[in-house]
Subunit: 184 residues, 2 copies
DNA sequence: GTCTATACGTCGATAGAC
DNA sequence: GTCTATCGACGTATAGAC
């Protein structure tokens, strides 16, 4: 029920919006300050640096939580459907903003941590068969790759294809890592 | 047999090295000029802008060519083995530099083009069964994701795991998109 | 035609006055 | 806490010397 925002909240809100819209480089501290209606020096004073402001503002975990829930059977298809389903825009723009800022070492570390917490961690103890952790990490790679093509470089074919077909097709490839490997 | 480099060549060589080493943001036009032993203004004069210098310098196609050759049988495993096999460092650093610079729209477009030319184009006409183009693009996504985790965020587990095991495991997931889908 | 010298505008960040 | 003034570094442009 807060009618007024604290200065810090106003800055964070403006920063999140501008970072997702124009990227890290394309968003100046001065632009954030103008959007929030405060002095540019205040932005640095409150958050320490532009980089910390970015990391404090961007949140991946909040958008992808629970994607690995449910039975292992057909988990691949459900996982993809969750990623590209309703509300995909907020997920895509958060991931896109992070990767675009990956020239920063802290941002890369955050990306690795987020993937670990959201996919590798929950998945590893549930996968049957050998090399469970490796397979969980490779499922994470598949997720990252799909997000790359759909939200970062925006492959027009993938963006506009029937989501159900995409979930079925890519889900099968993910399922190949969920199910225990069959040796030749 | 050229003993001396032209100014343009010297700039390009210095730029390529610095961009791969310190990223786009971490490499200043002035640093490139100093490394090449020329005046900073010359860099802009020869290449137009820092962004064009980056695009002229970075080359993905040259490093990944021919990864999709050979019989479709076990193509997945061979593809991964080629990506992470001997000389992986040059491939990884080229890809890493590009993604780190993906705040630029031109760089993102180049990434999409490169993946299309190297994987989607050669693969689409060869894949049996329905949705060949979609499956080829999703194989591209799998490749991008693996490169993300190994060369951009540098997942320590994936970087140090036995390459043969990795090729076998991730190769099986790629093979699931090479082979025609089996409907339930 | 190259190259040098210099300068412009903007950036992230800091110091110190209210 | 907030603003003013300012710093050094950046990408880029241009004028003019070889």
């Amino acid at each position: 029920m807060t009618v007024t925002l604290t200065t810090r909240e106003a800055i964070a809100r403006a920063a999140g919006q501008l970072f997702e819209q124009h990227g890290y480089t394309g968003t100046s501290v001065r632009a954030v300050a103008a959007e929030a209606g405060v002095d540019p020096a205040l932005v640095i004073r409150h958050f320490g640096s532009k980089e910390k402001l970015f990391l404090d503002t961007m949140d991946l975990q909040g958008h992808f939580g629970g994607a690995t829930l449910g039975p292992l059977d057909e988990l691949g298809e459900r996982l993809v459907a969750t990623l590209i389903g309703p509300g995909r825009d907020v997920r895509f723009s958060a991931y896109r903003a992070m990767v675009r800022a990956s020239d920063s070492e802290l941002v890369r570390a955050r990306l690795l941590d987020a993937l670990e917490e959201m996919f590798v961690g929950p998945l590893t103890p549930r996968l049957p068969g050998p090399d469970a952790e490796l397979r969980a990490r490779l499922i994470g790679a598949q997720v990252a790759g799909l997000l790359d093509q759909m939200s970062l470089v925006e492959d027009p074919v993938l963006v506009s294809v029937d989501p159900a077909l995409l979930a079925r097709t890519y889900g099968a490839a993910i399922q190949a890592l969920v199910d225990p490997p069959s040796h030749a």
